[in-house]
């Protein structure tokens, strides 16, 4: 993932040197970090990157969360991207938001809108230090609800209406781009404009339950070009969390940091305090430590062996000889990992086509792609509104065959909710 602030860094240069070169070696503290406050979620989005659904009993307490915020203040982390799960279902959610902003840590939180009533919207509109990101993955009810679940489109639209009515302009409408909604990209822009929101488009990753649906949902090669052209045409009007840097190999670089920021400028704190290199890499291979460790979050950020390794200069690996390596930097680490590709080779969605070739060679081997280490998915279908005591129907979400050879008993299985999208 790229982990970068939503807005492109722009800097006064008094000496030559690329920002990516400076950032590649890591920073004293993250620029921004993602903090999933809970794995609990009212939804069960099929592509949830954190496999959320059920609350984890080991979740950080209010006091522990406040101690993390104290650390972030001391480290001068500018802001946190709070997600989940659905963060607003934590009873202490607003208390933690207030505590963070009072301690000079800005907050941007991602929500499906379930708790964003008129009163919450008024409260949010009053603060300069809190930003909101509403998740919506279809510009129509049909396309959205197929991914995020029945009723989720209406929930998001109601929340956006409340924010607009409260005079909150510039909140974010956040969309994970899929094969099904890329044809709706102009319609998303129209919705954002209608509600006074800013559009934010991010990349679908094969992380969490996203691994189960990636083959069906990830954009087709022709759509990647369509998306790239749209992003180039709209420039800085649209936010991306710098998540599409793999598309830079189509031509000119997109605005923002074209760099995987995992462990360098961003990281993830999960609901139980585990610190991962990035929000899309919830797997033991990318686990750097826990905020409950003796040194706290600061100790993990500064002394983790994993992070030290990630901050070494990229060697380029199999991509080194490709003429586009300087543009795309080999793409997204998490996308490679969860599709079973080597981390020093091409991204599975490499626009030069090297990813498809690599995936083909993986699928002909008998080794299954790694599965997420942590799964809090609802054990049954998500709670749905029921009329007249009708028997709830459980639609099993079976992992589709991701490759021809994947129909073996060893292939992964799992079910589906979403959380924060994007890098930052």
């Amino acid at each position: 993932m790229t982990l970068a602030p939503d807005r492109a860094a722009s800097g006064p240069a008094t000496s030559p040197g690329k920002l990516t070169d400076l950032f590649q070696l890591g920073l004293d503290a993250p620029i921004c970090l993602t903090w999933e406050l809970t794995y609990a979620c009212n939804l069960s989005c099929v592509h949830c990157l954190s496999s959320s659904g059920r609350r984890d009993p080991r979740e950080l307490s209010t006091a522990e969360c406040k101690a993390v915020i104290d650390t972030l203040e001391r480290m001068q982390v500018f802001y946190v991207n709070i997600g989940g799960g659905e963060p607003t279902v934590r009873p202490d959610f607003w208390e933690l938001v207030d505590y963070a902003t009072a301690h000079h840590v800005g907050v941007k939180f991602s929500t499906n809108g379930v708790k964003l009533d008129a009163a919450a919207a008024v409260r949010l509109a009053a603060s300069d230090y809190v930003d909101v990101q509403i998740s919506l993955d279809g510009a129509t009810r049909e396309v959205n609800d197929a991914v995020r679940g029945p009723g989720s489109y209406d929930t998001a639209m109601r929340a956006m209406g409340n924010l607009r009515d409260a005079g909150f302009t510039g909140f974010k409408l956040s969309v994970v781009m899929t094969r099904q909604n890329i044809p709706q990209i102009d319609a998303f822009k129209a919705i954002a404009d209608e509600y006074g929101a800013q559009l934010r488009l991010t990349r679908l990753r094969p992380s969490g339950r996203g691994a189960d649906v990636w083959d069906e949902l990830h954009p087709l090669p022709s759509q990647q070009k369509e998306l790239y052209d749209w992003l180039v045409a709209h420039g800085e009007q649209v936010l991306t969390g710098d998540s599409f840097f793999h598309l830079s190999a189509f031509g000119g670089a997109l605005p923002g940091l074209n760099l995987c920021g995992a462990g360098r400028v961003v990281c993830l704190i999960d609901p139980v305090g585990d610190v991962y290199a990035c929000p899309f890499a919830i797997h033991e291979n990318f686990l750097a430590g826990n905020v409950r460790d003796a040194g706290g979050f600061e100790g993990v950020w500064k002394t983790s062996a994993l992070f030290a390794d990630l901050r070494k200069p990229d060697t380029g690996g199999a991509c080194k000889s490709c003429g586009f390596y300087d543009s795309c930097r080999g793409g997204c680490m998490a996308a490679k990992f969860f599709t079973g590709l080597p981390l020093d080779g091409p991204d599975p969605e490499c626009v030069q086509g090297y990813g498809e070739a690599a995936l083909a060679s993986v699928s002909s081997s008998s080794v299954a792609a790694p599965r997420p280490s942590v799964d809090h998915s609802h054990r049954t279908a998500p709670s749905r509104p029921r009329a007249g005591g009708a028997v709830p129907v459980t639609i099993a979400r079976r992992r589709p065959p991701s490759h021809d050879c994947d129909e073996s008993p060893l292939a992964g299985f799992t079910a589906g909710a979403e959380s924060a999208s994007g890098c930052c």
Partner: protein, 95 residues
């Protein structure tokens, strides 16, 4: 993208109160809570200049006090101009 129009080295400047500044090995990162934009300073000298802007009657005086030579002034004016364009620094009324 158009460059900064011009930067008046002889006026008084200050870091915007909504900007948070964090030192880094290469210089510093700046984050503006109003615009939610990130910027950066690429070396320690420009960091020292920006930090001391509020203590000097002019940006020129801040630069010279931080060891910027006359020959380097135009480069620093460009750097400060970029910061002014993104409202990281703003003009200050002299007391």
């Amino acid at each position: 993208m158009a460059g900064p129009v011009s930067f008046d080295l002889d006026r008084a400047w200050q870091v915007d109160p909504r900007v948070s500044m964090r030192p880094e090995p290469f210089g510093a990162l700046l984050y503006h809570f109003g615009t939610r934009r990130l910027s950066f300073l690429k070396n320690q000298t420009v960091l020292a200049v920006v930090r001391s802007l509020a203590d000097h009657p002019s940006a020129r005086s801040a630069c010279l006090a931080c060891g910027v030579s006359e020959a380097e002034l135009p480069a620093y004016a460009r750097a400060l101009g970029a910061l002014a364009d993104s409202t990281m620094i703003s003009e200050r009324e002299l007391a």
